[in-house]
Symmetry: C2
Subunit: 341 residues, 2 copies
DNA sequence: TTCTCTACTGTGAACGTTCACAGGAGCATC
DNA sequence: GATGCTCCTGTGAACGTTCACAGTAGAGAA
């Protein structure tokens, strides 16, 4: 009586069966697709469910089926960067909603330290989620391998590099997007086009740099390493990289930056150096995150289709849980024209 | 054999018991705090757990205990604004980590539409989570009331206004923070201090405006409604509000803006109108979100202690699940000096 | 009629835990 | 030497489902 909250016990399948005048088995059949149930029985059960307010006890169900009917959203990131990155939001929201449409709850898991990674790996392999949506920018991530080896259905966001095991992933066409942006910058007449890369142990970092190099080579503009500076996707690293570019190649007239957040930093550095954007230096970003709208001038950038990415991650994961083989999905990007280039 | 993944069945408590040469009951006792267990037995059980890699089956446990050992993080927001707002990130991350420290998984739930709210309310009241962390800026939110009435432990972020039922909440000292900022602006010698408010059906919106009004009144500066413009926490609304302020009170020399995101918009409008910040108009924000660092000039703002807020929300919720009464926690804010004021 | 087939329904067992209880061992007290 | 107490341990029942199987009724064919 004085227990916490004092919630009354919710109705069970027995209550529904009694109320509908049928057996447990029939109620269970109605609940699970309703094969081989007479319409009269089905109607009675559905009415009884409505009257009693019955909701299936997922723990009891999971205990016998071995499935948990939930999936994990796993973030293995030592840095706090993910939470600084607005893309993360969109992805998380998209996945939650796509799963909700299937009535599948999402468990958010953050494994920053090695100890946490071990704990969460055990939790997952014990069968407490049916599958995992993995968001980890860096490669060499042992969690993906461990989970794959344990046979846990898994879909990564972005291509996991350097991994023998076949693992599903959904990614934007990073290289094509980078190509499109650099081609656009060249089409504006720019010839000294620099780049600020993402971290080169991430697929996005590698691919976007590759697209940049390809286009410059195809245009007959030789590789000039002074035009390339490394960043780590953070705003501050973009600012520092731009300073290095300006020092090494003061004649630069355009920059392709591998993320909008870094592009914010690049803008700040350029303005401090007295360069006008886009008149003196054209700047192209990547992501089309909210950050791209907040800059002055607004950022021309490559849109990553986050809505589709999250929807596809969920689709591929559910398919894999249903027994299908791993799959890779690449989605096209889109050039968004604004004022910075 | 050809089932999905083909995971082998994980070890059960029976396996551990056999391995350790004790009974189920003893293993269970070790698992749950280890009261009344001899050290010999405990050591044997712990060794057996390590050898077998046993992880408790939470579904079986939940079935009998009636607890789920998980909590929900519920977002009831019609707009997408929450995901635009970097504060949300910090809050979510903080809650996840605070819960992880107690080994409690977090279920992320988004209830944008009324249909979703109903579905999620049923899910929650069916006992699938032990408690709910509620993040909903707007009042009149029926979910909080329904959940409270159903006896579900609940902690809101920010004080839910206009609700009869006693509900726990954790909030920053909005009014005091606003007072501190406005006092600071006055101390700079500014006399025509305007404000851009948050939505007035949110506690933050109401309280921050109240703090502004109090300080002006105490300073003997009468209420001038032309110095007050409404926003909805979004960047765009801040921009529009600033334009209205400039039109109605062109002599304004400072603005207190109820969120950093809106302050971004205010800055853009001021710069377009040719006003220098902070020389002509000093601008003070609220939140100390990452947005405050991204502006030019960097934003002087009121820091909300998000880390402590999330930690306190979790603490109060777990206490309530443990049977304690609801509680309200108010945490102090802090003025962060940067360049905009 | 009688048999077979199909469509539907009910029932016992099982899933892996916790809980309540019963009982044993050891020790001190009377 | 009996009694009581404390500490520890094992065991049966229960939680609310699903699954496999057995059984019933009705329709159609021989």
């Amino acid at each position: 009586m004085h227990t916490a909250g004092g919630r009354p016990r919710p109705p069970t399948i027995h209550d529904v069966a009694r109320e509908a005048g049928v057996s447990r088995g029939t109620v269970s059949r109605v609940l699970n697709g309703g094969r081989n149930v007479s319409t009269a029985a089905r109607d009675a059960v559905e009415a009884a469910i409505r009257r009693t307010g019955y909701v299936v006890n997922r723990h009891a169900r999971s205990l016998i089926t071995g499935r948990s009917d939930s999936v994990g959203f796993l973030l293995t990131e030592p840095q706090e960067r993910f939470f600084e990155d607005p893309n993360f939001n969109v992805l998380l929201r998209g996945c939650t909603e796509a799963l909700a449409a299937h009535d599948v709850p999402l468990l958010l898991m953050i494994a920053g330290t090695e100890a946490e990674r071990r704990r969460i790996t055990r939790y997952i392999t014990a069968g407490h989620v049916d599958g995992v949506l993995l968001v980890s920018s860096h490669s060499g991530d042992p969690v993906a391998v461990r989970l794959r080896e344990a046979g846990v259905p898994l879909v990564a966001c972005g291509k996991p590099i350097g991994q023998g095991t076949k693992v599903s992933y959904v990614a934007a066409a990073d290289r094509d997007g980078a190509r499109e942006m650099v081609q656009y910058l060249l089409s504006l007449g720019r010839r000294r086009v620099g780049t600020v890369t993402g971290p080169l142990d991430t697929p996005g970092g590698v691919e976007r740099l590759a697209g940049y190099r390809e286009v410059l080579a195809e245009a007959g503009l030789g590789a000039d390493e002074r035009l390339i500076a490394n960043g780590d996707y953070s705003r501050a690293s973009g600012e520092a990289a731009a300073e290095r570019l300006l020092a090494g190649a003061p004649d630069l007239d355009a920059v392709f930056v591998a993320s909008d957040l870094m592009a914010q930093g690049v803008l700040a550095a350029l303005q401090r150096a007295g360069r006008r954007v886009p008149e003196d230096v054209a700047v192209g970003g990547f992501d089309d995150s909210p950050a791209a709208l907040a800059t002055q001038p607004p950022m021309t950038t490559i849109r990553q289709p986050w809505g589709r990415i999250s929807a596809e991650m969920v689709r591929v994961l559910l398919a894999q849980i249903g027994g299908e083989d791993p799959a890779a999905v690449i989605l096209p990007t889109e050039l968004v024209h604004r004022a910075s280039a």
